[in-house]
């Protein structure tokens, strides 16, 4: 019987286990995400205060992109309170050109995955969930 699915992705908890191997760098992880999951176009990792930390090679370098993600997450967290919740799990921007899935990574980072509408969101989540420690960048 398979192990229970990790509790949705929700602000992606960072595993507390210590890894002996050097963690892959976030840029490589984002490129791998784009290369391995059909429909994922690009991905970007930002600090929660709006600085770019890594992006897939398919993503252009714009200073406003990480800042917009930080602002969106900042506002979304207030909307969570408005909705009577406590913790933001994910932000989805569903538009005519595709989907943007935005997740808080630990407490200090945010990841956005840009994909086609039909992307298998579960696969994207599983991929990210498995690498969340490296993406969070916090020493395990």
């Amino acid at each position: 019987m398979p192990p229970p699915a990790p509790s949705a992705i929700p602000s992606l908890p960072i595993p507390s286990t210590v890894s002996a191997v050097t963690p892959p760098n976030p840029t490589d992880i984002l490129d791998e995400l784009v290369d391995t999951i059909d429909g994922v176009r690009s991905a970007i990792l930002a600090s929660i205060d709006g600085f770019g930390l890594a992006r897939s090679s398919s993503m252009s370098d714009e200073a406003s992109h990480p800042a917009m993600l930080a602002a969106a997450i900042g506002l979304a967290r207030q909307l969570v309170l408005m909705g009577g919740g406590e913790q933001l799990r994910q932000l989805v921007v569903d538009h005519d050109g595709g989907l943007m899935l935005v997740w808080p990574i630990g407490n200090e980072r945010v990841l956005a995955v840009l994909a086609v509408t039909a992307v298998e969101q579960r696969r994207v989540r599983a991929f990210v969930q498995a690498r969340v420690g490296s993406l969070a960048g916090t020493p395990a």
């Binding site: 600090s47 205060d49 800042a67 602002a71 506002l75 967290r77 200090e108």
Partner: protein
């Protein structure tokens, strides 16, 4: 008389005191989007606004209501100022008197904003107690002679309310000048 609501844009450089001002004067629970800072900015302060601040201020016994919209201060968040600046009645420009390294860029920003919006400004000169110094700084940033300048200590709510009083006086003056134009 019907209730009147005015939109105030609270803006200015990083770490000038914008969030402090809104939090200290708001009569409703202020909304803020503070997060921990990283990199060099963490040497200046521990938290920073990434989207907006929001607070309200109503005049006692009157139907006048101010909606205070605060912007982030850093250039990378300029798009938030562009989002928030629509239909603004008064710009409250907050500047830290002691952070002299921010003044040159702040002057460029203030002048561009006022040229764009064509509304009156109140310049709140934070960490300053001297009106002469505050006026000189405001003029160097491009404030006009008639524009309100308030030396203040925004960590203190009473001081924040002095800025609000200047905002109200500025609104009053601008309504009177509009009436004259109409007449």
């Amino acid at each position: 008389m019907s209730a009147q609501t005015f939109k105030i844009l609270v803006t200015g450089p990083f770490a000038a005191g914008k969030t402090s001002m809104i939090q200290s004067v708001s009569q409703t629970q202020a909304i803020s989007t503070d997060v921990v800072t990283s990199g060099e900015e963490s040497d200046v302060k521990s938290h920073t606004t990434v989207a907006m601040d929001f607070g309200t201020y109503c005049l006692d016994g009157d139907d006048t209501r101010l909606l205070l919209f605060g912007t982030p201060g850093q250039a990378r968040f300029r798009f938030m100022t562009n989002i928030l600046k629509g239909d603004v009645d008064v710009v409250a420009f907050v500047i830290d008197a002691e952070a002299t390294e921010t003044h040159a860029v702040a002057g460029v920003e203030l002048r561009a904003l006022l040229r764009d919006l064509r509304v009156p400004a109140v310049v709140a000169v934070n960490r300053c107690d001297d009106i002469t110094i505050a006026r000189r700084l405001a003029r160097s940033l491009g404030a006009l002679d008639g524009e309100a300048v308030v030396p203040c200590q925004l960590i203190d709510p009473d001081s924040g309310r002095e800025v609000v009083v200047e905002i109200l006086l500025t609104l009053l003056a601008s309504m009177e000048s509009t009436k004259v134009e109409v007449a």
